[in-house]
Point group: C2
Chain length 156, copies 2
């Protein structure tokens, strides 16, 4: 599943994770390649899917979402139909910004954003309605380490 990336690819990916808001010539200088070669490599990394997308990361507070929560969910019934129905419901709840199947103490882990407490509560209620049994909520209090780049250049 993993692609073979050489040292220059890894440096490109590291730089682009840290800051993708730079010109191609700037990026080229950083990795010591010509702009043309740099452009070619970055395009290949996008086409290969290693770079999923270039995106704007917002400050949730400043954007009007002071409440964030992690919600771990255990489903009431574990039939394939019930699971698919629940997953479809998650797609339709815009305040659910991430959802994953996990292995461990729970079945699913969901990330929620909300503008205020009533909105948070409405989302939790919707989860219950759609088949969530045990719901454990962890309310975000403080960021310790903000999303950091994958450690591509580290010794394995």
């Amino acid at each position: 599943m993993a692609l073979s990336l050489d040292e220059i690819d890894r440096r490109l990916l590291t730089e682009l994770q840290a800051d993708a808001d730079r010109t191609n010539v700037e990026l080229a200088r950083l990795v010591g390649l010509s702009p043309a070669a740099t452009l070619h490599r970055v395009r290949r990394l996008k086409e290969a899917g290693v770079i999923r997308r270039i995106t704007a990361e917002l400050d949730p507070d400043l954007a009007g979402f002071p409440l964030r929560a992690y919600v771990s969910v255990t489903l009431a019934r574990h039939t394939p139909t019930a699971e698919r129905a629940f997953q479809a419901a998650l797609q339709d709840i815009p305040q659910v910004v991430v959802a994953e199947v996990v292995a461990g103490e729970t079945d699913l882990l969901i990330q929620i954003v909300a503008r205020d407490v009533p909105e948070l509560q409405r989302v939790l209620t919707r989860l219950s309605v759609h088949g969530a049994q045990r719901i454990v909520t962890l309310l975000h209090l403080q960021e310790i380490k903000t999303r950091s780049p994958l450690p591509l250049t580290d010794p394995a």
Copy 2:
């Protein structure tokens, strides 16, 4: 803490969250503004901090990190010193890509990436060594809903 954003700002932010890999003229067409005005607004949003950064989102599998885990941590001692020491340790572990203080069943929630099981285990051991008491690991199995934009245009 929240900024006042008008409808055009919200559309700009929504578009940039979905795909920031577009030219300014393209973005201008999408929101119905001139390129100059669009550039001005986007720059203001960056300076205000609503846009934290523009970043490349990678595919963790293709980038060589097939193992991801959420780890909830309860600290052995809750003295300010112990907490600060633990948080400092997190900054130094490159496989820890996100860390937050939460309220609920646990104290901290951490996101980890690893290339293989031994690497994952090494990280978990480092967490124990630095003061983590109860460690609950949720291993990522499958993405249900990939990181979605903040629902800026939704009715509150």
